[in-house]
Structure formats: structure tokens, C-alpha cells
């Protein structure tokens, strides 16, 4: 992005970075965008994508067998909206995680935007704080949602050990949502870190 540094007045053009308050009157510091906060934005986007992916995956899959048979007579997989894929009558209780996950994804997208804006100034300021708190809120949502899913699926899967003719296996959704939670925590931790490197200081009448 090429843009003119305010106050340069000599035709000097800043190729990258942004400017903050001048160290001395009449001069402008040209800063490189803070890399770690750009990474924070990327982490938030990664967490949002992983959260969205978990909406398309199953929590667990249960299969019912007759003794000695290998082909299940019934099977169902629990999905994000609380619905099941397969034999719907076999699942009596249902758990939905789509609501908290969608809310977390929205927060993460806003956090990524705030982190990008925070990367354009030396001090993180208001944008950095907003990015950190939004990512932290999303991380809380994702961690808690993963925890609830895990304790629910652990109860389901325990039937694999004792149940006759019932096999329940974990689906990929808790792992993916857990990964999203880890990425969101990392985004929150890095949203306010780093200092900008000064690329140049442009005076009122000359560029250095």
C-alpha cells in the first residue's frame, strides 16, 4: 500500500507502514506494521474457520448390533444443531453446540479486524484491547463448548465398554472445536504484543 506520509510536504512517499505522533514537531515516524498483531489476526481467522468446520462434523456415532452381526441394525451421528444423522428415533437426548460456536466465530472475525487495525500503530491502544477481549470471549465460549461436548460424548462412549451390542465412537467435532479454542487463546495472548519498527523519520522539509 503506497500512501503519502502526512507532513512530509516534499513528495516523499511511504511505501509500507503507518505513522504516529511525531517525535519532534514537524517530523513523522514511518512504522512497519506490528507483525505479531498481524499474526494474532491470522490466528483469530484460523480459529473462526476451525469453529465453522466443527459445525459440519459429528460429535459421536453410535451403532447398534445384534450379537454376532457385523452390520449395524441402527446407527446415528450427533450433529451441531442437536439433530442426528441416521436413525433419529434412536437418539433420545440431544446436545447442540451450534449457537455458542456461531457466536464465537462472529467475535473472532471482529477480533481479527481489530487486530489488523491495532497492527498499524505503535502502541496497541483501543483496537488492541478490543481484539484481545473479543478473542478472549470467543476462547471462553469455545473452551466451555468443547468441555460440555467432551463430558457428554464421554458418557455416550462409555457405553462402548459395558453395553451389549452398542458401539459408540468419538467424532471429530470435539477435537476441531478444541483446536479452535487453542487458536483463539493464542490470538488473545498476541493481540496486544509487539512494538513497531521505525522504518524512517521524515522531517518537515526532508526525508531521512
Amino acid at each position: 500500500m503506497a500512501r503519502r506520509a502526512p507532513g512530509a510536504g516534499t513528495g516523499a512517499t511511504e511505501m509500507v507502514g503507518s505513522t504516529v505522533a511525531p517525535p519532534v514537531p514537524g517530523s513523522v515516524r514511518v512504522l512497519r506494521p506490528v507483525r505479531v498483531r498481524q499474526v494474532s489476526a491470522g490466528l483469530a481467522v484460523g480459529a473462526a474457520v476451525a469453529g465453522l468446520l466443527s459445525l459440519a462434523l459429528s460429535l459421536d456415532t453410535t451403532r447398534f448390533f445384534f450379537a454376532g452381526d457385523e452390520e449395524p441394525i441402527q446407527s446415528f451421528s450427533r450433529m451441531a444443531d442437536g439433530g442426528v444423522v441416521g436413525d433419529e428415533d434412536a437418539a433420545f437426548d440431544r446436545l447442540a453446540w451450534s449457537g455458542p460456536t456461531v457466536l464465537a466465530v462472529v467475535l473472532l472475525v471482529v477480533a481479527a479486524t481489530a487486530a489488523v487495525l491495532a497492527a498499524r500503530t505503535d502502541r496497541p491502544g483501543g483496537w488492541g484491547s478490543a481484539a484481545q477481549q473479543l478473542a478472549a470471549g470467543a476462547a471462553g465460549l469455545l473452551v466451555a463448548a468443547t468441555g460440555v461436548m467432551v463430558v457428554f460424548a464421554a458418557s455416550d462412549v462409555s457405553a462402548y465398554e459395558d453395553g451389549e451390542g452398542i458401539v459408540t465412537r468419538w467424532g471429530p467435532a470435539p477435537a476441531v472445536l478444541g483446536a479452535a479454542a487453542v487458536l483463539a487463546v493464542a490470538a488473545a495472548v498476541t493481540a496486544r504484543r509487539g512494538r513497531a519498527a521505525v522504518l524512517a523519520t521524515i522531517g518537515a522539509g526532508d526525508a531521512s
Binding site: 440431544r94 483501543g126 478472549a136 470471549g137 476462547a139 471462553g140 466451555a144
Partner: protein, 225 residues
């Protein structure tokens, strides 16, 4: 300015001898630079520093978070739901750690995420309280508080949704089999929902506090000029 201005310069109006002045001079005859007109303005009171509303809001948020954390902790020890069974069977009661029925060998231990969320809420509240004396803690306190609120929302939303959906499934089963099995929502879910809304209420002062801090800082800079 201490009196009326005349141009060109001339002597000020005088009172004829024997006629009392319409406006006696304050301070008697020794007063100088007196003239009729508006009374002198009182001396300016010493400037009071603007109230630290941001700190008050952080205290309010800390209180709400602590209340939400305590409620979530109590919810861990209460009944999540209870099902009145048909045919005179004993009721099925589920708490956050166990159940009295036979829902697979391992009951759903809602208490594990609830304890984690309660710890985050309490930690956020305590850090917000401590940030009154240590401004460097404000960022960490706000982040932990936000994470606790997010956790409270997720756990309250999912557990209450599960219980509500289970009640719906029971109603369908009752209609199909023509039996009467009712689900009673336990105090644990009620407290979780109260905790959810209490934690959400803490977000408002948490967001407003830094905004008011900035306004106060600007006012302080303006007053110093």
C-alpha cells in the same frame, strides 16, 4: 475593567453634595475602583478532579462477575433435572456429577466445565478488583473476565438447551405411549441461567470503563491547559 469607559476621556459623573448616592459604594468610602453595575464575580472555587467513573464501573463489573462465579459454583451441587417416572418407579435425578438412573456407565459430568467457568469468573472478578490498585492488571483482568463471560454463556446455553430438548422428547414419548413422565428443571439449571445473565450484565460496565477512562483523561488534559 473596573468602570465605564469614556471616549474622549472626561471626568466620571459625580453626585451633587447632599444627595445620597443611588448605589452606596461597598466597603465604604475607602473603596476604590467602584462603579455601579454587576457585582464582582466570586473567586473561583478550586478545581475538583473529575470523578473516576471508570473505576466505579470496574468495581460494578467485578461484583457482578463474582456473583456469577458463586452462583455457578453453587449450581455444581444442585440437581440439574429430575424425571418423574411412570408405573411408580423411583424418579431419575441427575446432578452435575452423577445420576440415580442408568444412563450408561458414565453419567454426564456437567460439573467439570461448570467448575472451570466458575473459576474463570471468580478470577476475572478478583483481577478487576486488584486492577483498582494496579493499572497494569487492567488488560489481563478484562481478558480473563471476557473469557469467563464467554464460558458462562456457552455452558448455560448448552446445558439449558439440553434439558429443554430432553423435556420436549419426554412430551413426545408421553404422547406416543400414553404415559405421564414429567421433567422438572433443577435448581442447577436455574442458577446457571441466572449466572449467565449476571455475567452478561457485567459486560456493559466492562466495555464502558475504558471509554470513560479516555474521556476522563481528555478532560484532565483540557483542564490543565
Amino acid at each position: 475593567m473596573t468602570g465605564p469607559a469614556y471616549w474622549p476621556p472626561q471626568a466620571p459623573p459625580t453626585v451633587p453634595p447632599g444627595v445620597p448616592p443611588a448605589f452606596p459604594p461597598p466597603g465604604g468610602q475607602a473603596s476604590v475602583a467602584w462603579t455601579a453595575g454587576m457585582p464582582a464575580a466570586p473567586p473561583p472555587a478550586p478545581a475538583r478532579p473529575p470523578a473516576d467513573v471508570g473505576a466505579v464501573l470496574r468495581l460494578v463489573a467485578a461484583g457482578l462477575l463474582l456473583v456469577a462465579g458463586v452462583l455457578t459454583t453453587i449450581a455444581c451441587f444442585l440437581t440439574v433435572f429430575e424425571i418423574e417416572m411412570a408405573f411408580g418407579e423411583p424418579p431419575f435425578e441427575a446432578t452435575a456429577w452423577s445420576d440415580s438412573g442408568e444412563r450408561f456407565p458414565t453419567p454426564i459430568r456437567w460439573g467439570i466445565p461448570m467448575v472451570v467457568v466458575a473459576a474463570a469468573l471468580l478470577a476475572g472478578g478478583v483481577l478487576l478488583l486488584l486492577s483498582r490498585w494496579s493499572a497494569s492488571l487492567r488488560g489481563l483482568a478484562a481478558a480473563v473476565a471476557a473469557a469467563g463471560v464467554g464460558g458462562a454463556v456457552a455452558v448455560g446455553w448448552m446445558v439449558s438447551g439440553y434439558v429443554g430438548d430432553l423435556a420436549g422428547s419426554l412430551r413426545e414419548l408421553n404422547a406416543d405411549l400414553d404415559i405421564d413422565q414429567g421433567l422438572r428443571t433443577g435448581g442447577g439449571v436455574v442458577l446457571l441461567l441466572v449466572s449467565l445473565w449476571t455475567a452478561l450484565a457485567a459486560v456493559v460496565p466492562l466495555v464502558l470503563a475504558p471509554v470513560l477512562d479516555a474521556v476522563r483523561a481528555r478532560a484532565a488534559v483540557g483542564g490543565g491547559r
